[in-house]
């Protein structure tokens, strides 16, 4: 994956090259390999040891091509070519032209934190239908097409497995 930190006009290429188990990884940044050990992680941040040095990162707002994080109290913006949100979106049935699918299915397992719509509500493609909590992270499940909510298949506090229908959208 390619990254750029605008303020320092420098490009980086980074990836995980090896999984050592026990939450330890080898990552490669440009030409240098680093050992990384995860201490704690959730959707809001990560604590890790990189080459024996402890770091704490908080993840702030993310968009498809920008990541904002605070690392060891230093705010840093990264421009990325990574399209995670799109990946999730694609897997929920969005993206392509396949609008025929009735059910919006959750591509991730999780606990239903909140439901943003009610039966009969009309939604547009990309509107948030519900929020799931997974791995301590809250993730919005978005409508895969325009339509109206026909039937909600989940309830607050319940859990959904991967592939479970969230709601029918007609």
């Amino acid at each position: 994956m390619d990254y750029k930190i605008p303020d320092i006009e420098k490009s980086f290429e980074g990836k995980i090259t090896e999984n050592l188990g026990n939450n330890e990884y080898v990552i490669k940044i440009n030409d240098d390999e680093h050992k990384l050990k995860i201490i704690n992680m959730n959707s809001k941040g990560i604590e890790f040891i990189l080459d024996q040095n402890y770091h704490r990162a908080k993840y702030l707002e993310q968009s498809t091509n920008e990541m904002n994080l605070v690392i060891d109290n230093v705010p840093i913006t990264l421009n990325t070519n990574a399209h995670f949100d799109e990946i999730v979106y694609k897997n929920t049935g969005g993206g392509g032209s396949g609008n025929a699918q009735l059910s919006l299915k959750s591509q991730i397992p999780g606990k239903v934190v909140s439901i943003a719509v009610a039966d009969g509500d009309s939604v547009k493609k990309g509107d948030v239908v519900c929020t799931l909590e997974s791995m301590k992270m809250q993730v919005a499940v978005k409508a895969h097409k325009d339509g109206s909510i026909k039937s909600i298949k989940i309830k607050e506090g319940g859990t959904v497995a991967k592939g479970d229908p969230v709601a029918d959208i007609e």
């Binding site: 109290n73 397992p109 791995m135």
Partner: protein
């Protein structure tokens, strides 16, 4: 004896006063505006009363409402903090009328301190040096020229109706003086319809040095050493320290005596601060008395061992100051950084909003007075001071390095802060060497240096930032393949 104090203030200073009262077993009454319902001073006081809307005029400046709370809650004294009603002699008078012990000087003394002309007069009589200049308004340009020649160029022509740099002209000879007189008069008339001009000696590369003083109702006066507050932006202090690198023992005692004379001259009671300009040649000139507890009082507490709020309460109780000048010994070095919610790169414009997360530095010889807590917010209605970070050291170097370490530990999410600027300043050779002046920031290109420091810091953190970003991406990828969704399980899957 004071048994219940209303604190007519908010933020860190309200908390500061509450803390001493708690230790002394004195009950406290907090007042709060709509905006401050969730603020710490409401939570830490013995009682709390809502007094109005967010705008200061509707709450913290609402004398009648505050008096109503005092009378109905059985409060016997009021601590005004700084700002708001702290130097309002009408309020002090209202308290006197209602037999509420106002913790500060009498209304008359406050009035005298607040009126610059009358105060200067009193100081001249008491042989307190003030900035040389016309004793009052000048009659005309010729009168101004006469005075300028007496005190020596460069001089400043100042319209009393100006302010904030407007209606001020610095002139270096008779010709410039006459030209300047015309334009200052014109500016002033254009702006406010009238003109009244003062002449004052223009001092270059000045330091702002002030003295903490205390005077009791029995007429005992002491000074509690100086504070140097030269590092400023737009005439507002950013970093203070004590002792001043420009004050030796002899100077401390000599100016200290002048400070006591100044306090006597205005029949001051309670704690106050005498502010001076120190010219580059070492001369001190009195500017004004701040008739209240000062923002930067903690550094004086750190080197004197005194609890200044307790001293205020003692004096308000009519007790004599419990020590003599000769009992006071200056112990070590202290620095204060005012942690403001402001954007250094936007000309220090205020930055407000919610603060979801905050880490407050602590540790040996670190003191942080703040209203911040995770989940609080910085209100646009009040001033930008979020925290006062102070460190003490046996040597100046120790206090400085402790401050740097504490600044590194300080994390405030959601608003821009002055913390990065302070790191640049404290790391500069000029600061280390005590080469301070009120134009320090500009004189030493601190903003440009800050830009470089920030870039360097980012470079240093780039590998770690990238590592965090990579893991974040992998996290999202793996989520899609993983069935059971808790954190450790995820890590096992990824592992």
């Amino acid at each position: 004896m004071i048994e219940k104090v209303l604190i007519a203030n908010r933020g860190e200073i309200a908390l500061r006063v509450i803390r001493t009262c708690k230790v002394l077993g004195i009950k406290t009454v907090a007042v709060y505006s709509d905006e401050d319902r969730n603020s710490l001073h409401v939570k830490q006081a013995t009682e709390a009363y809502h007094i109005g809307e967010a705008a200061p005029a509707k709450s913290y400046l609402n004398q009648e409402k505050i008096m109503e709370v005092m009378l109905s809650s059985g409060t016997d004294a009021v601590h005004p903090g700084y700002g708001f009603l702290s130097e309002n002699d009408d309020f002090a008078r209202l308290c006197e009328k209602n037999k509420i012990n106002f913790i500060g000087p009498s209304a008359d003394s406050m009035d005298l301190c607040g009126d610059k002309m009358k105060c200067k007069d009193a100081m001249l009589k008491a042989d307190v040096p003030t900035v040389p200049g016309s004793p009052g308004l000048v009659k005309d340009a010729d009168d101004a020229e006469k005075i300028a020649n007496k005190i020596g160029y460069p001089v400043m022509l100042k319209s009393v109706y100006g302010g904030g740099g407007r209606g001020i002209r610095i002139v270096t000879n008779d010709k410039e003086l006459h030209e300047g007189y015309e334009s200052v008069t014109g500016e002033s008339i254009a702006a406010v319809g009238k003109s009244a001009i003062l002449v004052e000696k223009f001092l270059e590369k000045t330091r702002h040095i002030e003295y903490q003083m205390a005077r009791d109702t029995h007429g005992n006066t002491v000074h509690i050493f100086e504070r140097e507050c030269s590092i400023q932006r737009r005439n507002q202090k950013l970093i203070e320290q004590t002792p001043s690198p420009a004050v030796d023992d002899e100077t401390r005692a000599r100016i200290g005596e002048i400070v006591c004379r100044a306090a006597d001259a205005v029949d001051y009671t309670n704690l106050g601060t005498a502010e001076f300009l120190r010219a580059d040649n070492g001369e001190f000139y009195f500017i004004e008395i701040n008739a209240r507890l000062q923002v930067e009082h903690p550094i004086t507490e750190l080197v004197s061992g005194l609890d200044l709020v307790k001293l205020q309460l003692d004096i308000a109780n009519g007790e004599p100051i419990p020590f003599k000048q000769s009992d006071l010994k200056m112990n070590g070095y202290a620095i204060e950084c005012r942690i403001n919610a402001e954007d250094t790169f936007l000309d220090f414009a205020p930055s407000t909003g919610p603060v979801p997360d905050v880490t407050i530095p602590a540790g040996p010889s670190v003191r942080c007075d703040t209203y911040l807590f995770p989940g609080c917010s910085v209100s646009p209605f009040y001033d930008s001071l979020m925290a006062k970070l102070c460190t003490w050291g046996q040597t100046f170097e120790e206090s400085r390095t402790r401050m740097l370490s504490a600044l590194n530990d300080f994390y405030i999410q959601g608003v821009e802060t002055s913390i990065p600027l302070y790191k640049t300043i404290l790391n500069s050779d000029e600061y280390k060497n005590g080469e301070l002046s009120t134009d320090f920031l500009k004189r030493h290109d601190m903003i440009e240096r800050l830009t470089k420091d920030l870039k360097k810091e980012k470079e240093e953190k780039s590998d770690a930032a990238l590592a965090a970003a990579i893991i974040y991406s992998e996290y999202f990828k793996s989520r899609i393949q993983t069935r059971v969704g808790n954190n450790s399980n995820w890590k096992n899957k990824l592992g």
